[in-house]
Structure formats: C-alpha cells, structure tokens
Subunit: 181 residues, 8 copies
C-alpha cells in the first residue's frame, strides 16, 4: 500500500522515542504508535505507568529518559488523563498526548484533560485514539535533524497523493461516460 518499506535495523538500535500509557487496556490503541514508528525505522521503548496509581515510579522513569537517549515522549491516557501533563511537568522533552476514548464520555474528558494545560507546560495533543498521528508528529520532530527521516516523510505524503490520483484514474477508466445516475 505504501512505498516506504520498513527499514531493517540492528536489534540494539537505541530508542529515540518513549511510548507510555496509563493502563494495559490502552495497549491496543497505543500499538499504532509503535507500528508507525517502526514503519519509519525509529526505535522506541514502551512502558505502562499510571500517573495516579504509580506517581513515584513514573517520576523515576521520566528522570531516566534523557540519559537513555529519548528525544520525544508519546503519552496516552483516558478519563482524567493526567499522564501526558504529568510527564510534561517533569521533563523539557517534547511530550505528545493521545486522548483515549475508553471512558463513558466518549473521550471528550481525556481530550480536555490533556489539551487544557496551563501556560508554560505544554502537551502536543492529537486526535482521540490517534496514536498513529502521535508517531507521525514524533517522526516530523526527529526529522528536523535527520535527513533520512525527512526524506521518508516526503515519500509518506507523496504516497497519499499518488493513491488518491490512482483512485480517480481507476474510477474514470471504469465509467467511460464518467457518470452514473
């Protein structure tokens, strides 16, 4: 479907992105972040850590991020989604928040809890459950100083245009008169 092929990389590639989420039940939604990062050949680490249930373990984990070479954090959470903001409060690395819609309020609660930060402590919020876009954003950030990644992003976008144009051409070929009624 895409002309970007997953880049082979050595198993010991150092992770540049950390993906963290508040509950094991968020794993499936958040797996799209990992899948997209892998598609771009960006190594990442993953952790399950609740800001409310394990605040001290989380603080220690954030403390160690920079030392392990992490440059961007992707944090997903539902309900009173404190995780992204708590991580952002504890680091100066860019933090991308993924609101997850598992609660009774369709995720609106988590989107507001993640986006509405006080001036000075920012979270880059993406759409509900849209872990793919969190990864794309992380790749865009890393690509600012990584020419190879920058090139892959261009290909990634061109693929979308090409697929759309191909679709139009197929429809035009199928309906000689170009119309249905």
């Amino acid at each position: 479907m895409s002309s970007i092929s997953n880049t082979p990389e050595s198993p010991t590639a150092r992770p540049r992105v950390a993906v963290v989420y508040g509950s094991a039940s968020d794993a499936q939604t958040m797996s799209k972040a990992g899948a997209t990062l892998s598609r771009f050949g960006v190594a990442h680490e993953e952790a399950v850590l609740s800001a409310h249930r394990a605040p001290r373990t989380l603080a220690d984990w954030v403390e160690g991020l920079r030392g392990r070479g992490i440059q961007v954090v992707i944090a997903g959470a539902g309900l009173a989604a404190a995780l992204p903001g708590t991580v952002a409060a504890l680091t100066t690395l860019p933090v991308i928040g993924v609101p997850i819609s598992g609660g009774a309020l369709d995720g609106m609660d988590s989107m507001l809890a993640i986006a509405q930060m006080p001036p000075g402590v920012a979270v880059a919020t993406v759409g509900l459950n849209n872990a793919t876009n969190a990864a794309v954003l992380a790749v865009q950030i890393l690509a600012l100083s990584d020419q190879e990644l920058a090139g892959k992003l261009v290909t990634y976008k061109d693929d979308f245009e090409r697929a759309a144009a191909d679709g139009l051409a197929r429809v035009a070929a199928a309906s000689p008169a170009g119309a249905s009624a």
Copy 2:
C-alpha cells in the same frame, strides 16, 4: 413506495453533481446521495479524496469541475471534516457538506467543522450522515432552472403527504371506535 419512477437516461448523460468524500469508509453513508440523485434522474460523478491526505490531487479535481459541467458539489467527511470547506474555498459552485459520524465524538466534531465557516466562504450543511438530504438539496437547486426536476420535486413531497394520510385512514378503518385503551 413512491410515485416517482427512476427516469431512464442514456448512459452518457453528463453528470451535473459531483459527490466526493474523504475516505472509502464513508462510501456506504454517501451512497444515499447517489441513490437519491438517481431517483430524480440526475447524473453524477463520484470521487474519494481526502483534503488532508491528498490536497494537491483534490485541488486539481476541483479545478476541473466546471469544465466537466458540474453545477453542485456534495462533500462528505468525518472528524476534522475539512473536505467541504476546502472544496468551497477553491470553487464558486455551491457546496453541500455532509457531516459523517464515524468518529469518537458522535459526529459533532464533523458537523461543527463543516458548518462553522468564516464569512464569505459558505458550506450548506445537512444533518449527520444525511446524504439523502444533500441530494434533495442539490435537486432543489438544479430544479430552479429545470422544469422537469421541479415537477418531480412536487410529486416527491406530495408522496409524503399521501403516505401519511393513507396511514391515518388505515388506522381509522382498523379501529372502528378510533380508540384503544
């Protein structure tokens, strides 16, 4: 069910309406637009084009609309539903927007994204998933300079009244005393 019969037309009838939507997953919802246009014998073309994923292919497609004889565009989209507004920004043809409720917020996000345009660039928004009404609106617009279509619209509305009156009559016949308790 209706006294309008689909008008037979030559397979090469030139489309007057273009139906476009952002993702193949919107096809089923949007198919009601095509079905209703066909019922009125209005030829149309159809395309799948995302404003965000394929902006250049979309711009080219909009550029060609008037040359192909299109008079009205029906654009359906979900989430941050940019498609109708993007098309409206690029053409002076009337654009009808169909908000689609596939997202986690019940479609409220797409309805607002479609309706709340800045002064000067308008989109005619219909109800959530209501592609039928987008087609009815397109027919009403075309009927202003097409007497045959205007006549079909009158019949279309009369059918609703007749069906309702028939329903009342059936109920009255079934319950001689006109009441149940």
Copy 3:
C-alpha cells in the same frame, strides 16, 4: 475593501430571495444577509414570522413565495429553531437556515434543530449567526443560471486572495529581515 461595487438597480427590481426570521430580536444578525445580497445586486424581501407563534400566517406567506418570483429562502431562528424546517416542509424551493445564538445554550440548540432534518426535507444550514454565508450561498445558487452573478462571485473570491497576498507583501516590506524575535 472589495472591488465589487454595489450594482445600481431600479427600485422596482423583483426580489429573488426572501429573508425571514422568527423574532424582531434577530433583525440585526440577519441584516448581514440583506447587506451581502445587496452587495451582489440581488433584490430581496424580508419578513418577521415565527413558526410557533404564527403558523398560519407563515403557511400563507410560504404559499405566495413562488408566485412573487422568489427562488431561494433564507430563514434564521434561535432556540428550538423550527422556522427553517417548517418553511422547507411547505415549499420545494431551496431553504437556507441560519442558527442564531441568542439562547442560553450558545446556539447549539438552534444549530441542531435546523440541521437534523428527516430524510426528504432538507435545510442548508450555515454557521451560527452567519447570515453573510447564507447570502453567499443564495448568490452561488442563483449564479448557476446568471452569468453576471457568476462573474461577481469570481471577483469576490479573488478579492480575498488579493487582500491576503497584499498583507503578506506589506509585512515583508516592513521587516527587511523578515523576522522578529
């Protein structure tokens, strides 16, 4: 500000658009529709009629629209904004609905009441209080069979592009280095 000058027209020009709203308190919001129609030289008539308070007077008024040469109706209403839908139920002319935000719920109630019509009876809903866009939409519809109006619409859109480009040029000229910090 714009290169479209209001077209002089004879005082007896026959109105092609009817603007109706439910309460005298909506007059100021709805006056933007009249102002925009005038800018395009489109004659219109105006009426204050509540669907809930004067249903019979409204029905008579709708009955007479086509005879008076009206082609498009713009209907504004707030709260349980029944006016646009009631007019749409009684005519086959295209009806454009303007939700008005005068109620305690920020106009969300009127937007939903106007947009969420049943299949078969459509209202073209614009943004909250956006009577300007209702008029633009009416002009776009009339322009399908009025070459002069079609030309004015192209100019209207070009003016927006030109104003934007001029703004960029002014900024670039003012900041020789193109930057501020």
Copy 4:
C-alpha cells in the same frame, strides 16, 4: 407488581389522549405511553405523522382533535424534533413532548428542539424516550377533573413506596446482622 388493575372499559370509550409520533421507527418507544394510559383505563388514539414530511396532513389532524374529544396530546419525535412544537403551535390543548434518542447525537438534539420553545407556545417536555412519563403527566392533568383517576394516581404512587419498603424488609430479614463485608 402493582395494585392498580387495568380498568375494563367498553370498546367504544372515547379517546381523551392522542399519541402522535413522527416515524414508524418511534412506535416501540412510544408504545410505553399507550401501555401506561391503558393501565389507568384512559382511552387514546394513535397516529404517525411527520411535521416535516406531511405538514398539511398534520395540520388537518390537529384541527380535528378537539372535535373528537381529545384533551391532551402526547407527541414524540427525534432529531430536529419539530412535531411537538408544531402541534403546540396549532392548538391550545396541552402538548407533552417526548424526545427520542434515535439520532447520532444521543437525543440531545431532540430534547433541545422540543424544550426550547419561544415564550407563548409551550411544550411539556419529559425525559429522553420516557413515553411512560408523558402518559403519567397526561393522567395527572386529566385527574384534576376526574376523581376516579385521581384515586388511581394515589395508589400508583403508594405502590412505589410499598415496593421500596418491602425490599428493605426482605434485605433486613435475609441478613440477620444487617451487614456484609
């Protein structure tokens, strides 16, 4: 479950309440109104009439209500739920509105469309899908001049208290210590 037994009545009892709704798909929800009216021995008539699709048939039907002896109207509708307000606009009988949650917005659209009427034309709105309460309200209104109904209402309420007290007694009997841990 209740000590009110359905009152036998002659099949020709004249209906005092009319139940109307906009679409056959509302029949199941609205059937609770009929069931509750029957439980109180109040005869009613029922009709399916859309305010938007069959406005003239509806107006005729409303015209005839008083002549047929109807004293209260229960009107259910979903989406841009115009039916209750349209009926209220055409009669001075009390109209009770039942918002129905069949749309994509959980029924919030229909609740607002029914409740937010302009001053002077009122609809008595009950909870979402709560046709039972529409019937209870109708019975309470009729009971003001019907001693037998008034008595049944007292019994109806007492039954709730008795059932609650019986429940407490059963629990107390089952857990001798009155506690669980």
Copy 5:
C-alpha cells in the same frame, strides 16, 4: 400589544397555581410565571424553598397544597435542580419544571436534572428560564375544565397571528416594490 386584558378579580381569589423556586436569586426569572398567570386572571401563591437546604419545610408545604386548592405546581431551579422532581415525588398534582441558567454550565445541568426523571414520576419541563411557558402550560391545563380560560387562550394565540400578519402588511406598504437590494 395583546387583546387579552388582565381580568380584574377579587383580592381574595383562591390561588389555583403554586409557584416555587429554590433561591431568592431565581425570583426575577420566575416572576414571568406570575405575570403571565395574572394576565390570564389565574390567582397563584409563591414560595422560596430549596429541596436541598430545607427538605422538611418543603415536604410540609407540598403536603398542604391540595388542601389550599392548588391544582398545578410550577417549580423553578438551577444547578442540580432537584426541586421540581422532589415536589413531583411528593404529590400527584401536575408539576411543571423551569430549568434556570444561573450556573456555570449555561443551565444544561438544570435542564437535564429536571427532565431526566425515572419512569413513574414525571415533570413537565419547559425551556431554560422560560417561566412564561410554564404559566402558559398551567393555563392550558386549567382551561380543560374552565371555559373562560379556554376562550382567553384562543385569543392569546390569535393575537400572535394577527401581530405577525400586521407586521407583513406594514412591510409591504412601506416597500411598494416589495423588495430591497
């Protein structure tokens, strides 16, 4: 403005409607109920009683309603608007609830708290702050067994139609061509 003149009545007319609200700050909003009742010559009594702050005083007051000849209760409340439902729980008289928008959530909280009652205990909810409609509803209920009131209601509605028709006539007279542009 209206052809209904306030009916003179003896100062000792027995109140048929009770108007109650939860806080003195609701008095201005609720005064529209009293004004409308007076316009129809319906005597009423008024009380300030909070369901949450004075539950026992409220229960005593409800207990005495029927004895004092009250037939309908109008109850207004904001926030977690328990008053209408609490009154409805304690009486079989019809209770009309007025949600008041004084809280931080624009009154949506009070509308839901009033409307969403459990099956069996009903409140007739009107629009936000719309105490006028609560009174109209009360009058419609009383008019079922009061011919004089029924006549006044017909006049009240006719006045709306007449005012609307007069408005149309004035506009037509003012613009000989019937149009503006």
Copy 6:
C-alpha cells in the same frame, strides 16, 4: 494481584458504611463499592431506594442511619440523579455520590445532577460508574480515626507502585536492547 488480603471478620460486624442506589439495575455497577469495602474489611449495609419513587421510605431510612452506627453513605444514581443530594439534604453524615451512566446521555446528566449542589449541602462526587472510588474515599474517611485501616491504605497504594515497577522491570528484562522498532 494485591498484598491486602480480605480481613476475616465476624458475621455480626456492625456496618459503618451504607450503600444505597436508586434502581435494581444499578446493582452490578454499585457492587464494586461493596467489593472494595470488603477488601478493606469494612462492613456495610445495602439498600435499593429511589428518591423520586419512594421519598418517604427513603427519609425514614436516612433517619435511622446514625442510630445503626453508619458513618458514611455511598449513594449511586443515574439520569436526574437526585438520590445523593436528597440523602445529603437529610443527614449531616458525609455522602459520596456515584453518577451512573445508564441513561441516553452517557451519564453526563447524572454527574451534573449529583455534583452541582447548592452551597451548604455537599455531595462528594466520584467519576462515572466508579463505585470503587466511592469505597476508597469512604475508607480514607474512616481511616482518619482507625489506625488499622490507615495502614491498609498505605499498603493498597504501595501495591500500585510495586506493580508498576515490576512491569517496567519485566519489559526491560524481555528486551535486552530496551527498544523495539
């Protein structure tokens, strides 16, 4: 999963917490309160009582709470969730409210109905359906004067931290390079 084992206790332990909810259909949601109280060895009693359907039985039940040794009340309700506020109005014991999402509005109606109390009569509201947290809150309150409970709470929280840290350790052990791509 946890190092707190349920404390064995005599079957006649006197309940310190009362759990009450408005409808039998709330039993499953509310059972998490009982389960959590039991986990901490806190005896409780349980009742099904609707504020709207059985106001007098409820008032009697609240009257008896203090005499039976109850110190905290947990009240769950959906829709126009009056139960927690009604209990709070009738007692000076702390009342914890659990909004239940069984209605058509996702529970937002019950959350607002429970939380938005007037100044002076408070309900401690927890998240939607979160009866577990209502019990945790009750335990925290009781623990202020119960050293054993206070100790269990510390263990309860430590368990969360330990589980999180163990999870991190497992992941680190499994991915020697600490990364995936």
Copy 7:
C-alpha cells in the same frame, strides 16, 4: 443570618485542613473554603501550588501534610485540573476537589479532569467553584470524630430549615388571602 457564631480560637490552633490551588487567580473562588472552615472554627493552612508548573515543590508539600497534622486536603484547579488528582496520588488522606470555571469551556474541562479518576485513586469532587461545599464536606468528615463539630453541623442545617419556614410565614402574613394574580 445563621445561629452558628464563629468560634473564637487561639491563634496557634493547629490546622486540620489544607487548602491548595493551582494559581493565584483562583484565590477569590477558593476563599469561600477558608471562610466556611472559619465559620465552623476549623483551623486551616493555605498554599498556591501548580501540579504542572511546580511538581517537585508540590510533592514535598504533600509529603509534609500528615506530619503537620493535616487530615483533609481541599484542592481547587481549573482547565486540565491535575492538582486534586496529583495530590490524591501522593497521599492517603481524603482529597476534595473543586473544579474552577476560569477556562474557555465553562469549567466542564476541570470538572471532568477532577472527577474521572482511575479506580483506586479517588477525589471527592464538588460542584463548579463551590469551595463552600468543599469546606462543608471537610467539616462533615472531621465531625465523625469531633462531637462539637457534629453539633455545629446540625445547627447549620437547622438554620436552613428555619430560614425557609420563616420566609413562608412572612409571605403568608403579607398576603392575607395567600394569593396574587
């Protein structure tokens, strides 16, 4: 207005309640908590600490609470209101959260961010801006082991009933016929 007089106390009374909020702009709203605590003679301390801007200073402050004799924490916050949840994550004391409506979303964002905690870490949420009720709740909790406070609470509630009954009596005295029309 009330028969509870503020209890004189020595200036060195040890605070039992801590009031904390995220921004100096919350001080006025939160001052109602202090005023109500003082009315009951409950000493408290106050701090301004943002969970997002000063997470480490906040953690230290929470660490010291129990040692200073604090038994209940009242935490107020607006926007992505993390403060109450962050405090609850770091202590086993009961935490009462006050959502503050200073943001663009009327405080709904802060209410959801405070209430929707994960199971196991609870916050007792009160209504928007309702710091008074946070204090009442704190007093109710402390009163479980403080007879004097318990007595004051009974008086506090009785005052509400008495004021309501007095109001009714005044109205009855003023309108000999008990009615107005």
Copy 8:
C-alpha cells in the same frame, strides 16, 4: 518574574518558526506566541492567512517555508479551524495548532476541528487560546538540536519551581502558627 532574560540578537537573525493565523482578529491571542519565542531568543515570522478565504496564497506561502529556513509552524484559528490542518497537509514540518475561542461555541468547535485529523496528517494541538504553549512546544522541539535553548528551558522550568517554593516560604513566614481559622 523570570531569570531568563531575553537574548539580544542581531536584527537579521533568520526566523526558525512561522506563526500564522486566519484573521486579524486573532492577532492579540496569537501575540503570546511571539512574545514567548522572543523570550527564548527564537526569531520568527508572522502572517495572516485564511485557509478558506485565500487557499492559493496560503499554499504558496507554505511552499516557501522550508526555503526560508522555517522549522516549525504555529497556526492559530477559530470556528471551523481549517488552517492548522491545511498547513499540515501541505508540509512535512511539524505544525502546532492553537484553537481560538472567538466563536459562539466557546472554541470547542475549533479545538475539535484542529485535533481530529485523519491518521497520517498530524497537528500538535494545544489548549484553547494557549499560544504561549504553542511557542513553548516549538522551543522544546528546536532545543533537541540546540544546546543553548535546551539550557534555557531547564531554567524556565526551574523558575516555576522556585517561584512556588518562595510563595510557600512567604506564607509560612507570615503566619507563624501556619494556620488561619
């Protein structure tokens, strides 16, 4: 207030961030972005460009960004806020979106329109009107390859902690007993 002093820089410093918004009326809100960037000594350029009114001028402007050395785009918009998404569709640079609350729906419409992007085209959304955080995020991104900026960010965060700790100390010094009642 802060220990970061604005870095003097040559007037010809090349802008690394572009700030764009849809309407001149957004200038004041968006000026916080420029102010914050300046505080960190990051040069930026600014433009007013509507995605809907000037789509072609916007496309040209986006085309030129990379050539002018721009690394991050901050895009603010209200209503059907298409600008951030449109820019993101046309570039692979990271785009930060600022929803602006100028519309009738409190900005919720713009937040959803900006955040709810389709997978593959991401916008980093910050809180309503929070242009400050957009700038902080831009600085965090640039700091990944700019040691001086990274150092300034650490100071920026430390200032918040220091200010909070100083505030606590001042309060403690002012109230010797540490309490008020």
